[in-house]
Structure formats: C-alpha cells, structure tokens
Amino acid sequence: MHAPKLNRRQFSAGLSASLGAIVIAFTLRPEGALAQAAPLPGSLNNNRMLDAWIRINADGTATVFTGKVELGQGILTALAQIAAEELDLPLARLTMISGDTGLTPNEGVTAGSQSIENSGTALRLACAEARAVLLELAAKGHGWSVDTLTVSDGVITGPNGNKVSYGEIAAASAGELHREATGKVKPKPAGAHKIVGQSIPRQDIPAKVTDGAAYVQDMRLPAMLHGRVVRPLRYDAKLESIDEAKIKAMPGVVAVVRDGSFLGVIAEREEQAVNARAALAASARWSGGRDLPDPSQLFAHLKSLPSQDSVIGVKQASAPALASARTLEASYTKPYMSHASIGPSCALAQFKDGQYTVWTHSQGVFPLRAELVKALKVPANMVRCVHVEGSGCYGHNGADDVALDAALLARAAPDRPVRLQWMRDDEFAWEPYGAAMIMQAKAALDAEGRIADWQYELWSNTHSTRPQSTSGANVLAAWSLAEPQKMGPPQGIPQPAGGGDRNSIPLYDFPSQRVVHHFIAEMPLRVSALRTLGAYANVFAIESFMDELALLANADPVAFRLAHLKDPRARAVIEAVVEKANWKPGEKSDGLRGRGIGFAKYKNLACYVAVVADVEVDRQSGVITVPRMYAAVDAGLIINPDGLTSQIEGGIVQSTSWTLKEEVRFDTNGIRTRDWSNYPILTMPEAPKVDIALINRPGERSLGAGEGSQGPTVAAIGNAFARATGKRLRDLPFSPAKVKAALA
C-alpha cells in the first residue's frame, strides 16, 4: 500500500518529550515583522518558515507538519498526496504530524471546507520550495547546473548520471530548510501530477476497521483514571449541595471534584466513575437556571429579539419592475440541529509538574489552548494540546468542552492521566447546536417570466461560538467555575463567507435584489458551528423559492435556473446532474413520486454542487423516502477523486437525515433531546443511493468540498416532494406530521 505513516506520538510519552525539542526549530516571526512581510498564499502567510511545514530526514524520509486535523474527512491523506507530489517522494516515506501546539503550525480550526485551500496551498508551495532548495544544494555540492537535474523518489540525478539522495543532502546540510518561504517556486503543473489526482486509500482506515488504536477514546496511559461529569437539567443552574461523603465512600472513587457549579468525579475504573456519576447526579441539588422559549412559539420569539441588521448583496435594476409584475412571497424555517456524533466527546488530561497535557479531538488545538489557559489560570506554555482523532464532529460539538472538563478533573489528581468520555446525555443536552433560522423571500416576475426583483431576509443567531473568543472563554465549564469566565460575545462571520448569512446571496443573476441579515445576539439555546453554518437553510430557502417561482412562470425548474445563471461552472454542474439523472422537463407526477433539483456554489466561494433527488411519499403515514440521489460536483483540481466522492455522498446522506428527521427537542424547563430516541437520525434502510459525477478542472485551484452537498440536497428533496404532491414543505424537518398536514 502507498499509505504514508500516521504519527503515533500521542501514545508514547517518551517520544513526545523528545519531539518537543523540534518546536525551537521553527520559531515564528515576531508579530511586528509579520505585519511588514509580503503576504504569502494560504496558511504560509502566518507560518512562514519552510521547516514549520517540511523536514527532510537523513534516512531519506520526510516529516510533514500541518495545523489541520483528521476528522474522518481524509484530510491527512490528501495533504500527504500534495506534499509527496511536490517533493517527488513516495507517499510511504512521509510521516504526517498534525494539530499539536508543541509541534505544528497554528492553522486555527479545521473547519469550513478550507483545509485543502489553506493547508494544501501552504504545503504545495513549501514542498515545491524545499525541493528547489535540495536541488540547489545538490548542484552546488557537485558542480552541476540546476536545470540539468532530474528527481525521482527522492533521488537527484546529475547530468553525468551521478546520483545523490535527499537523505544525503539533509545529513550534510542540516537546517537548510530553516528559512523563510518566498512562495515564489512554482508548483508542478497539473499535467505532471503522478500522486495528486489519484484515489489513494485513506491511511487511517486500516486501524479503524481492525484492532488499531485509532481514537482518543482508545488511549490507555499508565496509571490512568476515569472521570465523569454531572450537569444540571437547566442552563445556568447553580449547584447548591451534594452528598460528598457518600460519593467518596463508593468503590474506586478517587475524588469528587467541585469548582463553583462544575461537578465531576474521578475513579480507578470506568464503571466506577459511571456509577459514582449516577449517585452524584441523584444527590446534587441545583437552583435557578434559565427558562427556554416555548418551542411552539420559537420562531416568533427569535424574531422578537433585538437584532443587528445588515443589508448585503444589493443590486439595483436600471428600470424598476413593472407594476403588473406577478409576485410571490414565502417563509421557511429550520430548527435547532445537533451534531449528534456517534461517539460522545472524549479527552485525556494529565497535570504533572505544573504542566497540563491534553489529548483532544478538538478541531483547533491552538484556539482550545487559548481558552484552557484562561479557565485554568496558567500561562500558555503550561498547556500543551495534542490532537488525536475522535468520532466525527461535523462542527463545534462537545470536543473542546470535554477537554476543559478533563483538565479540571486532572488538576484534582496530579500526575495521573484522567480519561473522560461524556455520556450520551452530556453530549446531546450540552453541545452547542446548529442555530434555528427563519428565511423570508419575496420576488417579482416580469412579463417574460424572468425574475425582475428578489428580496430576502433571514433571522439567525451566531453560527460560531468557537474557542478563542475575543473576550471571556468559549468552553462550557469555564462559565460555571467559582471564578467564572464569561461566554465570549457572539459574533457574525463577515461576507463573503458569511455565518448565518452564508449562501444567502443568490448566485443567480437578478437585475434587482436585496438581502437582509438579522443577526440575533441573544441565544435562547447554546449554538455554534454545525457543518455549512447558515448555508444549509439559505440554500433550502433560495432553491425552494426558485422552484416556486418556476411554477409561477410555468417553466421547467432546470431551464428556469439556467435562464438566470451566467457562471459557466455553475451551469456545467447543473447540466451534468441533469444528464446523470436523465431529467425530463415537464415530467408528470403520479401524486406519490417526484424528482427535484437543488444547486449551490458553497459560500459562493467553494465547490459547485447540483443535486437531483427522487422521492416517494406515503400519503397514509406521511413518511417521505428518498430512494436515489444524483450529484454533479466541480471542486477545481481534484486531489483524491474517491475522497471527494466520499465527502459529497456523506454530505448528501447526512443532509437527507437533517431534512427528514432532525430537530432538537426542548421545553421551557430544558433540553429534552438526551438520547437517540428523542433525536432519531437516518438509518441504513432509509439511506438513499447516491450517484455522483465529478468534473475535474486541472487548471483551476482546488476548492473545499466537505460542505458542498448539504444545501443542494435539502432543496432537491423539498422540490421533489412539491413535484410529487403539488404541496410545498417550508418548515424543516419534513416529518410525517408536517407531511400529513401539508397533504390534508
């Protein structure tokens, strides 16, 4: 197999101590100097030394560093492909080190489909430049001219046939890569790619399907203890009392940890910690806490809250729409949704000699450390956060929170590592959800049935309360300590990427349009980043409304879209999916079956995806099934075709689950979603078959794709239902109750 090595440093304390020395080798430029330096592409801009990214070892292997982390999306394999390609090294000779505050570049969080664009760009340029440095050194050492040299598998061949390996050069001239990147060495043209563009098998899969230690959940350190935490039923409730003596007397209990209203327990064995948690929960008395809104009035409540309004995407037509224009209005909603990771969040922490080491599946080890430092009140150099993969997260779930919980427990048991895995209800009830949203659209058609004017408003909370807040700390336990931190102020994400307003500006060419984003600061339920942020809901609304307008214009939905769309790459994915699905304009429905289309360019910046869904409706039970979906994708230059396919099909199936089933349950007294029975997701018999066409664009830069298919999917399902039944579903999820109400 070609797979590069996954670094296993996290499982060996001795090795991590020795690797810790590398950190000195790539001290970053001081911030003042950074401000004056010429901007460099991707993450190279903030991590400018070549050896922050790539080191050549004397044995001819290379160590590649990235601040991005594996979340099951296959990113480390894709990044290794890029590095190996530019270095002309076989993949098997690469070792990837990722997400470690002691070792790797700081690339913020692994989110927003940006790893290929940011880390991939940095690695491509850094490795191309490293290769050029190696060639120069070889030329100098042998009196060769650089342009006469060839490289294969890490061996440089001179004009006379003499050879020198990367390893030999590295041994002879250590430290040569400790120089600032120029970003000026041209990477290979796509036509020369041998590794990029191949479906290289994922390096992490063998361990995951056999006996490997693949997850932070699988770490087992010597003398390790097990922790569990206890939280109240209501947000912000205050801990009044516990029966500490009783819990302490339970078998195996090492400590009951209480700091303000943070409550946890540590035991020798995991089941002892679980039993002690149950007893602790039964004995704990809480007071106060915040009422939640009445769920039946949620959307009215959200709209009643103060909002900061911004007007975006304005286009002013030269001539106003005719007064006789046909107009249409519609309103759509999306509920709170859970990340619903299969494995509850987990972390290990060790407090030793005043230093914390935290093994975490956080999406951003540096931002997490920034919050831990505030909550634990220690300097940054006393906390090291090391990424180890966890269960898939799909955004900001409990990963960061459980890391602080584990550190707080570890502080109470110095020297001994503490492993804490949240229980199912900890994760469901306390994670930050994807925000509920309201979208209102209004449009006018001209006499030719074209959209003359488009008005769109959306109401949403923030879509990121991630760690590294501007003030306070965005980790759960920090808010309830005896000396608490405030939750960081909720912030929007500016356009063009956007937060709640992500994808709220249509890609279509309307002569006149106006989009208003009502940003609601107050959060009735805790919310943060869930895959696609606002894009899922905005694409649902925009693409549903496009179909409603097509109906009004008596036009085929595909033809109607193409009539409003100039971007050739957008048109190409729509045309490709139409061909793949054998879409027939004007196809009649039998009242039970229908097909629909949805399209978006994710963030209006990343990949283009068009989806066609086939749905079947059981009018008796109200159950919608989606037997098959088709997609066409343009993500620029494809790094790993199978990896791209996997991300797109995963997004389609996950979005089908969101669309048909998902909604966080709560009442005024607290969160009611506490296990899978009150948060059902799509099961194996219900998963649609997916058929995907990839459009490779070797001349275009690679675009993120992990979040490209979710918006088009919901829209395609909604449009297919409307085509099947003649009724429109505008409130998510499309539950049997809503279907029956629509058909009644």
Binding site: V209, G343, W676
Partner: protein
C-alpha cells in the same frame, strides 16, 4: 472478584464486579479497542460484539451474563496485516469516514453473513438497521458487506 470469560478463543481472568458492562471489561481490562462506547443504551450499535456467534450490545451486557459463552470482538476477526474478508472489504471500499461505527457495522455484518452467506442488498440494510452511522457512509458499508460475502463465497 475475579471472573473468567472466554474472549476471542482464549480464557481471560478479570477482576471486576459482576454487574460491570462487558464493554468496559473489553476496553479497559483486556485492552481491546474494537467495541466502542456510543450511547450505553443499546440504541446505536457501536459496542456490538458476538456472544456465541450472536450479535450483542456489550454496553448493556453485564459481565455476569457471559458465563461459559464465547465472546468474539473485532480483534477476533483479523488484524490490519491479516484482515478478515469483512475488514478487507471495508478497506477496499473505503467504507469509513470517522469510522467510529465501523466496529458495530462489521460485527453485525459478521452475524448476518454467518447466517445468510449470500445476502441481498435489502438483507444487508435490514441487518444493519440498528447500527447508526453519522458520516453518511451507508452506501459504502453496504457495498463492503456485499463484497465480503462474495469473497467468502469464493473461499
């Protein structure tokens, strides 16, 4: 107290209370990583093992219930170097994203293929109905099980 159980063909002594869920024994006492904690309530299937060849949720199975039965975990099927045809098929189909559900999918599929060596796609979907996958890898998992069935049929 010490209790003796048979796991992956060997007899193992564990010092734990009889009501301890088998999952914790496997993971913590026997250092077997395959079975995963997902929900603790038999709702997701991540902890699936075979007990006398029948799929069981190890998160709700107490140690005391094992008796003389034979427990088989993911480790009992094969290794990365010498994988079982099901494990091989999951690699060949790249049938994992985060992979946290893989253990349960493979163990449940093992029970299916032992019972029904030539399953239809519908059989596979039904057999795996109680195993939750969140990444949307469903189609690859189904393909992997069908591929393994073919491979097993040839041997």
């Amino acid at each position: 107290m010490a209790i003796s159980i048979r796991v992956n063909g060997a007899s193992r002594e564990v010092a734990a209370e009889p009501d301890t869920p088998l999952l914790y024994i496997l993971r913590n006492d026997l250092a077997l990583n395959g079975a995963k904690f997902g929900c603790g309530q038999a709702q997701c299937g991540a902890c699936t093992v075979l007990i006398d060849g029948k799929a069981a949720y190890s998160c709700i199975t107490p140690l005391s219930a094992i008796g003389t039965s034979e427990v088989t975990t993911l480790e009992g099927l094969g290794t990365a170097e010498k994988p079982h045809p099901l494990q091989r098929a999951f690699m060949d189909e790249q049938a994992a994203q985060c992979g946290y559900c893989s253990n349960g999918m493979i163990m449940m599929a093992k029970e299916l293929l032992d019972r029904t060596p030539r399953p239809s796609e519908g059989d596979v979907r039904t057999a795996l109905a109680g195993n939750l996958c969140r990444c949307g890898t469903h189609n690859r998992i189904i393909r992997a099980v069908l591929r393994a069935a073919q491979a097993l049929g040839r041997t």
